[in-house]
C-alpha cells in the first residue's frame, strides 16, 4: 500500500490523468523557474483535482511562493506548462490573464486589504474590476460577509479589525467573483494558533459547502494536517514527496518531510533521548510507527498475548488524520534476552508497523 509518488517529475498514475483530466483544475508539467543561479522551481509536476484541498509544504525558500504565483500568472515559468481548467496559461499576455485571474481567488499571509476602503468595498472590489453594477456588488459583499461571519463590520475599515477578521475579509474578497480555484499563500502564518484553527475551519467549510478547489502553501504541518486532502512536500524547487495526508504523515520518506513533521509527531522525551546509548543496555528503546489497519486493531494487547515476556510503553499515542489512525509508540523492551526483542520486532513488522531500534538505556523511567 504505497501511496507515495516519488519525485521523478511524473504526475499521478497515468490512467487517472487520462480518465479524469477534465476533473483536474490545475495541472503543472515540468515547471522550471530560475532566479539568477538558484532554481526556485526545478521540474515541478502536479495536479489538483476538482473539489480537493492540496497542501504544498516546504521550508522558506523552497519555491512555494514562486509555484503558487505561476498558477495565476503573477510569475512566469522559464519552461513547462500550467493548465488551469484544461487551458495552458503560462504564455498568455497580461491582458489575456486578467479574465482568467477572475476565476482564481487568492488569499495572502498579510491579508493585503486596501486600507482606504471599507470592508464591504474590499470584498466587492473583484466585482468592480469585472464591471458589475454597484447594487449587485454590495448584495454579493453582504452575502459573503455573512458567510464569513462579519456582517456587522461591513462599514468598518480594515485597520479596526483583528488579524483573524482581516483574513476573513480576505477570504470573502477571494470568493466574490465565484472562483473555480482558491490559492492560499501562507494564509494563517501571521495568525495565532486559535485564530489559525478558526480560519482553517472556515476554509474547510467553504471547500465542502461550495465544492471549491483549494491549493494552499504553508510551512506548518499543522495546517496540512487539519485541512488538506493531499500533500506535496517541496524542497529546493522539487517535489520530494506527495500523497494523501494521512499516508505521508504515517510514513514520511524524505528527511525534509520528517523534519517538517518533527514538531507535531510524538518524539522520544528529551530526557530519555539524552540517555540513549548505542551499546546494549538493560532496556532497548523501540520506535514503532503504525497507520491504517495496524493502528486501529488492539496492537499492544495482541503483542502481549503473542510474545510472552514484558515490554513497556514509554511514550506515544494514536492520532487521527483524515479519519485514519496514525500513531507512533515508543516501547522499552528488556535487553537481556535477544530473542525476546527479535520476536517483538517480528510480530510488529508482521502487523505492517515500522520498527526502529533507537538505542539502549539503563532505566526507561
Amino acid at each position: 500500500m504505497n501511496q507515495h509518488i516519488k519525485a521523478s517529475g511524473d504526475t499521478a498514475d497515468p490512467t487517472h490523468a487520462r480518465t479524469e483530466a477534465s476533473q483536474d483544475v490545475v495541472r503543472l508539467v515540468d515547471l522550471k523557474r530560475r532566479f539568477g543561479v538558484t532554481a526556485a522551481l526545478d521540474g515541478i509536476s502536479l495536479t489538483v483535482r476538482k473539489g480537493e484541498i492540496l497542501g504544498i509544504i516546504g521550508r522558506s525558500g523552497a519555491g512555494k511562493s514562486t509555484l503558487i504565483r505561476c498558477l495565476n500568472g503573477l510569475e512566469r515559468p522559464d519552461s513547462g506548462e500550467v493548465f488551469i481548467e484544461g487551458r495552458e496559461i503560462s504564455r498568455l499576455g497580461e491582458r489575456d490573464l486578467q479574465p482568467l485571474r477572475r476565476r482564481i481567488g487568492m488569499i495572502f499571509q498579510h491579508f493585503n486589504l486596501l486600507s482606504a476602503k471599507t470592508v464591504e468595498d474590499n470584498v466587492a472590489l473583484p466585482l468592480k474590476i469585472e464591471g458589475r453594477p454597484k447594487a449587485e456588488r454590495l448584495a454579493r459583499a453582504a452575502e459573503l460577509l455573512d458567510l464569513v461571519g462579519l456582517s456587522e463590520k461591513a462599514r468598518a475599515y480594515p485597520a479596526s479589525l483583528s488579524g483573524g477578521q482581516k483574513q476573513r475579509v480576505g477570504i470573502a474578497r477571494a470568493l466574490a467573483a465565484r472562483p473555480a480555484l482558491l490559492l492560499s499563500d501562507e494564509a494563517t502564518s501571521a495568525l495565532d494558533p486559535e485564530t489559525t484553527r478558526s480560519i482553517l475551519a472556515l476554509l474547510r467549510d467553504i471547500n465542502r459547502q461550495l465544492g471549491l478547489t483549494i491549493l494552499l502553501i504553508t510551512h506548518e504541518m499543522e495546517v496540512i494536517r487539519s485541512i488538506a486532502d493531499r500533500v506535496a512536500v517541496i524542497d529546493a524547487g522539487r517535489i520530494v514527496e506527495q500523497g494523501p495526508v494521512w499516508s505521508v504523515f504515517a510514513d514520511p520518506r524524505s528527511d525534509i518531510t520528517r523534519s517538517l513533521l518533527g514538531a507535531i509527531r510524538p518524539q522520544l522525551p528529551a530526557e530519555l533521548a539524552a540517555r540513549l546509548l548505542p551499546a546494549a543496555g538493560a532496556q532497548t528503546i523501540l520506535r514503532v510507527d503504525v497507520a491504517g489497519e495496524a493502528a486501529s486493531g488492539p496492537l499492544l494487547s495482541d503483542l502481549a498475548v503473542a510474545v510472552p515476556g514484558s515490554f513497556r510503553l514509554v511514550h506515544g499515542g494514536i492520532d487521527h488524520i483524515q479519519q485514519q489512525p496514525v500513531g507512533t509508540l515508543f516501547l522499552s523492551v528488556p535487553g537481556s534476552d535477544a530473542n525476546h526483542l527479535a520476536d517483538i520486532i517480528a510480530f510488529l513488522k508482521a502487523r505492517q508497523a515500522r520498527v526502529e531500534v533507537l538505542g539502549h538505556v539503563a532505566n526507561p523511567v
Binding site: 491582458r95 486578467q98 485571474r101 482564481i104 495572502f108 486596501l114 472590489l125 473583484p126 475599515y157 490559492l183
Partner: protein
C-alpha cells in the same frame, strides 16, 4: 499704516494667493501623473520601462537643480509664448508651475512608493489592469501622503512667489522688499511677515486636518 499701504497689502495678499493657488493646482495636475509615471516605469513597476524612467528622472532632476530665481528669468521666452507677456502675476505662474511640478512629482513618488506591493499584487490577482491598480490601489492608498505633500508644495510656493517680484508679479515678498526694506516702512515688513505666518499656518492646518480625515490606516 496709511490707507494706501493697506490697500497695497491687500492687493499683495491677493497676488500671492493667486500665484500660489494657480501654480499649486497646475503642479498637482501634472506632478501627480508624473509621480505615477515614475513609480510605474521603475524596475518591477506596473509598466516597467527603465529607459522612460531614467529619461523622466533626468528631466525632473534638471529642473529641480536650477535655482528658482534663475528659472524665473530663463523661462521668460516660454512664459511669453504661453501667457503673451513676461511681466505680471500671471506671467509668474508659468515659472512657478514649472518649478513646482517636478518638486511635487518627487513628493508624490515617495508617497506612492510607500504603498505596500502586496496590495498591488492582490489587485493583479483579482484580474485588475494598470488603470485599476492606479485608481483603486495606488492613489487611494497613497492619498494621505499625496495631500500632505501637496500642503508642503503650497507652503514652498508661497516662499518661491516672493521672488516673483523680480519680473513684476507683485505679491507679499515684493511688497516687503520695496516698502518694508527699501523705504524703511517697518510696519509693512511686520504686517507682511504676520500675514505670511497666518497663510502658512492656515494651509498647514487645513492640510493636516484633511490628512487625518483621509488616513484610515489606524
Amino acid at each position: 499704516m496709511s490707507p494706501i499701504l493697506f490697500e497695497l497689502l491687500l492687493r499683495s495678499i491677493w497676488e500671492t494667493v493667486l500665484m500660489t493657488a494657480a501654480s499649486g493646482l497646475i503642479s498637482l495636475v501634472f506632478g501627480l501623473p508624473l509621480g505615477l509615471a515614475l513609480i510605474a516605469t521603475e524596475r518591477g513597476g506596473i509598466a516597467e520601462s527603465l529607459w522612460v524612467n531614467r529619461a523622466l528622472g533626468a528631466v525632473i532632476n534638471g529642473f529641480r537643480s536650477v535655482p528658482f530665481i534663475i528659472l524665473l528669468v530663463a523661462l521668460i521666452p516660454v512664459t511669453r509664448l504661453i501667457v503673451g507677456t513676461s511681466i505680471g502675476t500671471w506671467a509668474a505662474i508659468v515659472p512657478l508651475s514649472i518649478a513646482a511640478t517636478p518638486y511635487y512629482a518627487r513628493i508624490a513618488e515617495v508617497s506612492l512608493r510607500e504603498v505596500d506591493r502586496g496590495l498591488i499584487e492582490a489587485a493583479r490577482a483579482m484580474g485588475g489592469n494598470r488603470w485599476t491598480i492606479i485608481r483603486e490601489v495606488l492613489v487611494p492608498e497613497a492619498l494621505p501622503g499625496i495631500v500632505a505633500g501637496f500642503t508642503v508644495t503650497l507652503v514652498t510656493l508661497i516662499g518661491a512667489s516672493a521672488m516673483a517680484g523680480a519680473i513684476g508679479a507683485g505679491g507679499l515678498g515684493d511688497l516687503a522688499i520695496r516698502y518694508g526694506y527699501q523705504r524703511f516702512e517697518t510696519s509693512v515688513m511686520v504686517a507682511v511677515v504676520i500675514v505670511l505666518i497666518i497663510l502658512v499656518c492656515g494651509i498647514q492646518w487645513v492640510g493636516d486636518r484633511l490628512v487625518a480625515r483621509l488616513d484610515r490606516r489606524g
